[in-house]
Amino acid sequence: MSLEAQRLSFHYPRGGHVPVLRSVSLSIAPGERVGLTASSGRGKTTLCKLMSGYERAAGGQVLLDGRPLGTYRGFCPVQLIWQDPAAAVDPLLPLGDTLREAGPADPELLRALHIEQDWLKRYPAELSGGELQRFCIARALQPGLRYLLCDEITAMLDLIGQAQLWEFLLAEAKRRNLGLLIVSHARPLLERLCTRIETL
């Protein structure tokens, strides 16, 4: 029972066939919080995209409980939270609609994330990065979620906002026994959050 990346290789079509990832393996068990760190350009985000089904690997496979991730239908049990929330929401949709695209929004969850009712009618340009990021998290935390991949998700927040968001996510992950992949450049942050740290 785990999310497994097995010997993944990947190159972007116009990248002159220079591999971004070469035979990378990583596995996450439920309840585990795996930290991932590497210098810029080493393919951290690419690995997240592969493991959540946004890109297909050129070699290797992603298995969820032993079954290829691509064979799951409906809401994907592996969700990615992107570094830049403004690029992960439709700029022309009010955020309430964006939330509903993933499924009904749990009012309890919105309260816990301090999302105000009035924000549901607003457009992305009318909220700050930190507020948008909370919407992206609410959207990903559907009942079917099992693994959450967090790609530098607090890089745009101040230190207090960062601590607030992780306090919430750690409690939620514990309650639901979610597996987390936490990507960050900040070593002290990973040491605080993770059960294990990998370097790409």
Binding site: A38, S39, S40, G41, H114, S128, G129, G130, A155, M156, L157, D158, L159, I160, G161, Q162, A163, Q164, W166, E167, H185, A186, R187, P188, L189, E191, R192, L193
Partner: protein, 311 residues
């Protein structure tokens, strides 16, 4: 030594249309004061969207038309008038912007650093500047889209320092870079200051700012709440303002404690101290006027500050 830049009681507000033809004033920066001496790196630290980039734009005179500016800017002892700004910017006062989006996408790196000049002296100078940042002569022939993130950042610094400026303003120069690359980029700013220029570093990253800054001003909801020597941040007992203390506690290595609530929006700040609604030590008086004042080797905007260098 005469300061390079003195900002005193600067406020910036925007005129917005609210429901039809009703205008309203939206204050974004309030009562900001800051001094930079030659050889010094002064950091302004605030969360993204807190309006701190507007400070850079105000000094350069490139605020949008609906911005309204109050307070005083002085450069090398004389008022910084719009005319002087125009004459100085790009030569004595330069901006290192956030990303390669500020470069001309259709112009190769070399001509951009030389600003169109083609003489021999300009050529050798641009090569020299690039070499100083570890970029070979082949960089001159690249277009901005061919640069990696770290290279683009170094090209931006090159275009800024090619003119031997006296004041360098760096606006979020490190996001997206890993710790080592960010450290290298910040090291370049330290070198520029050590060469005698003043550097104003605008960033959201307190930890990185502390690695090179001499003085740090902390921004909250459009106001500076504390200004102190970077060394004061090494010890909690020295910090003066409750917000700065809360930032210190929120560092992953110092307890990772959060406090509830968020920063108020521009225009929605409470009267008096903007931090009072989240402050553990707030008292009724905090709803009244809270002046910006010297306290124990720094400046603070709090009626009941703690710490300071005397501790």
């Amino acid at each position: 030594m005469e300061p390079i830049l003195e900002v005193s009681r600067l406020s910036i507000s925007f005129t917005q249309y609210d429901r039809g033809v009703h205008q309203r004033r939206l204050p974004v920066i309030r009562d900001l004061s800051l001094t930079i001496a030659p050889g010094q790196v002064a950091a302004v630290v605030g969360s993204s969207g807190s309006g701190k980039s507007l400070l850079a734009h105000a000094i350069l005179g490139i605020l949008p038309y609906n911005a309204h500016l109050e307070g005083q800017l002085r450069y090398r002892g004389a008022p910084l008038t719009p005319r002087r700004m125009e004459a100085l910017r790009g030569h004595e006062i330069v901006l290192v912007p956030q990303n390669a989006g500020y470069l001309d996408p259709l112009m190769k790196v070399g001509p951009q650093i030389r600003k169109g000049r083609r003489d021999k002296a300009a050529r050798s100078r641009s090569l020299g500047v690039l070499a100083r940042y570890g970029l070979g002569p082949e960089t001159e022939d690249l277009y901005p889209f061919e640069l990696s993130g770290g290279m683009a950042r170094r090209v931006l610094i090159s275009t800024a320092v090619a003119e031997s400026p006296r004041l360098v303003i760096a606006d979020e120069p490190t996001p997206g870079l890993d710790a080592r690359a960010a450290g290298r980029i910040l090291g370049h700013f330290r070198e520029i200051a050590d060469g005698g220029a003043g550097v104003l570093l605008i960033t959201h990253d307190l930890e990185l700012a502390l690695t090179i800054a001499d003085r740090v001003a902390v921004f909250y909801a459009g106001e500076t709440v504390e200004e102190a020597a970077a060394a004061d941040f090494a010890r909690l007992e020295r910090l003066r303002h409750p917000y700065t203390r809360a930032l210190w506690h929120a560092l992953p290595q110092n307890g990772f404690q959060s406090i509830p609530g968020g920063q108020p929006y521009p225009g929605a700040q409470p009267p008096g101290c903007a931090f009072a609604p989240r402050c553990p030590d707030a008292r009724p008086e905090c709803g009244g006027a809270v002046p910006w004042r010297p306290f124990q080797g720094g400046m603070v905007r709090c009626l009941y500050p703690k710490g300071g260098t005397a501790v």
